[in-house]
């Protein structure tokens, strides 16, 4: 896949494009961009698009028994919208989406809020230990979700939890980390722990690119650090906040590793606790790949819709704000 056999560099500009001053060479070669993006496009088609189309196709199939009793064999047949009907009529699936909603309402705002807080703190000129804290808060990003959940599991279980150890010593008893409703907080905490650092860095770097002159004039006007944070910094980092928000949201909708790893530790987490866990169960445990494919399709479309709504809301609010 060598590109050194260079693409034709002399090409006429595409119709309608803006002409540059130099006529003998085009500034918009015709093949180069295609060749540059070819490896990515090919890999994308092979390893994402084709499997996605295949998944959608599987979602209209079903394994049904042909023959009877133990002599029968399950074969692959067309099932129409059966699998989709099941997704929407499955009360457990709907309950799973509701649990996901509760979890998301805790995890996403807290992840972003803490990330923003830490980013703003790192940007406070007077704060100390910045380099250390920046690294320390980012470290969890390097820890695999499964290992993170295993570690927090130990922190939550009454007999091994150092937190419950302290509260018991103080006479408050054990903290019910793994009982509903605390469970939602415990799960969200794992995601927050893993996600704050990454989002903090994104917001922080965005803060750093705010022109210094803005601060200077604000300080001359007597603004405090807190006022500056709310009046200058947060509005100017909006795009970074929207980006991290959308990615946190997508991450929350794909909740899987944390409840799965905590599941063996508590009866409160069922195998269908989150939608992706149901999908995993169908695909990997109860051998119902078509059902998993249908739920996946619904989940992916739902994620797309939610992301689109969030982006649309934030951009329309920006426009409205610009007009006023």
């Amino acid at each position: 896949m060598s590109l050194t056999s260079a693409p034709p560099t002399i090409a006429s500009p595409p119709p309608g494009s803006r002409r540059s001053g130099i006529r003998r060479r085009s500034t918009r070669p015709r093949f180069a961009p295609y060749l540059f993006s070819a490896p990515a496009v090919l890999l994308y088609i092979l390893f994402t698009l084709v499997p996605v189309v295949y998944t959608v196709w599987i979602s209209f199939r079903a394994y049904r028994l042909q023959g009877s009793g133990i002599g029968g064999r399950r074969v692959d047949v067309f099932a129409g919208f059966d699998n989709y009907a099941t997704v929407f009529s499955d009360s457990e699936m709907i309950a799973g989406f509701l649990r996901l909603l509760v979890y998301g309402l805790i995890a996403v705002p807290l992840t972003l809020g803490l990330a923003l807080l830490f980013a703003l703190l790192l940007d406070v000129p007077a704060a100390r230990a910045k380099r250390f804290s920046r690294t320390a808060i980012f470290i969890p990003y390097a820890v695999p979700g499964i290992i993170a959940a295993l570690m927090w599991g130990f922190m939550y279980l009454p007999s091994t939890s150092p937190f419950s150890y302290i509260t018991r010593a103080l006479g408050f008893g054990t903290i019910p980390f793994l009982e509903s409703p605390g469970l939602f907080g415990s799960l969200a905490n794992i995601a927050i722990w893993g996600g704050v650092g990454f989002n903090m860095i994104i917001i922080y770097t965005s803060l750093r690119s705010i022109p210094v002159e803005l601060y200077e004039s604000a300080r001359l006007d007597g603004a405090t650090e807190t006022q500056m944070a709310f009046l200058i910094k947060i509005p100017l980092t909006r795009p970074a906040l929207i980006l991290t928000g959308v990615f946190s949201l997508i991450g929350a909708l794909q909740l899987y590793a944390e409840p799965t790893t905590l599941k063996p530790l508590t009866s409160q987490i069922t195998q269908t606790w989150a939608p992706l866990m149901t999908i995993y169960r169908d695909a990997f445990i109860t051998d119902n790949l078509p059902a998993a494919a249908a739920s996946s399709t619904v989940l992916a479309l739902g994620t797309l819709a939610v992301s689109a709504v969030v982006l649309w809301l934030s951009s329309s609010r920006r426009k409205a704000g610009a007009r006023s």
Binding site: L42, I45, L46, V50, V53, Y54, W57, A62, Y63, R64, L65, Q66, S68, G69, I70, G71, G72, R73, R74, E92, G153, F154, L157, P158, S159, T160, S180, P264, L265, T266, S267, Q268, T270, Q271, T272, R281, A283, F284, I285, T286, D287
Partner: protein, 429 residues
Amino acid sequence: MRFRTLGTLGVSVILGTALLSGCSSSGGDTGKVTLEFWSWAPNTQKVVDAWNKANPDITVKYTDAGGGDDSSSKLLTASRAGNAPDLALVEYTTLPAMIVADVPADITSYTSDIKDAFTEGTWAQTTFDGAVYGIPQDVGPMSITYRQDIFQKFGIAVPKTWDDFKTAAEAVRTADPQAVIASIPPAEFGTFAGIAAQAGSKWWDVKDGKWTVGIADEKSLEVADYFQGLADAGLISTDPLLTPEYDKALNDGTMLSWPSALWAPGVLQSVTPDTAGSWAMAPLPQWTAGDTAVSYQGGSAVIVTKNSKHAEAAADFAKWYNASEEGVKMVLGTQNLYPAATAGQDLAKEQAPPALMPQQTDFYTQAAEISSNTTPVTWGPNVNLAKSVLTDALSKAITDKTPWRDAFIATQKAVIDDMTKNGFTVTNK
């Protein structure tokens, strides 16, 4: 189907056809054969090495496929794609699901000579409508492993019946309010199934191609009521097993027994090695005094897959492994499993007791005794679904304080619905 072919074509063009030959397990018809074998049992490599040394023409290549619920899907998927290994270890509970998915080959014709190496109950675990789909490797006759020292200290007799068990549980609570006799959590599907089977319930049954599901039959519901009674009275815990929490209780001496199967001492040894010598094993309590019947919990068989091009060679290996004296010796001694073959169970009597209970010198004699009283169990094609639904429903019942029997009834319904939808004929809808 068309785009699939297109995608395939694309992939092959890009990757080059040179790679295409890489992946089959055959060695041609020259007489030399390589067999792929997926398992997860400990020290399987050593058994395979012994075979390979003695059989240069049939080389077995072992892969640790991991155990548990997830690994059976790996085998199913590989089989659908035509890549299944020649041989695989399969738990008895998932074997029917494998059969209806067309994974294992019918090896009846290769196995007529070893049928007598197993008890009828054991052999029934791999035989369906007269066809043999696997060779039993290990079995888990049910037993109770308990803290002998603490039972003695509290003056509690080893429970012989489930009524005794309740009395013992009360005595434990009185003697030490921190301690419980056992934990029976919702996830222990195998325990519930085994104890219900012991009571006479048949969770699945197949006759003339028609299935009967009995997860919510009268006997099962009585079992549900019994354990709910214990849990409601605070006599047993319903917290999950083998969590750090549970393991700590084992170490502290506040978790006093584990009603499960003969493999329990090995598991306990690994999480609570310091308490070795304080434990003992006894037959599982009975529903009626004087009965001896117990069921199985756990255990697995080696299957030959339909994908295998060398079914006979594969069956030879499986037979050597699980039915020859040399093989079962290794199952017992090297792998520390309780062999399915009766010859292995006899050999075990000579064996030193498990490290957890060195003082119980008659461990394996008792084990053989228990094993000879096992009742055969038929598993169904959707055991994993049943397990998932029952676990979730029981958890919910415990949280919401609703009757446990409702969880069994809901599971029965889900299992029947699923089977009917998939095209099985179920007689008791």
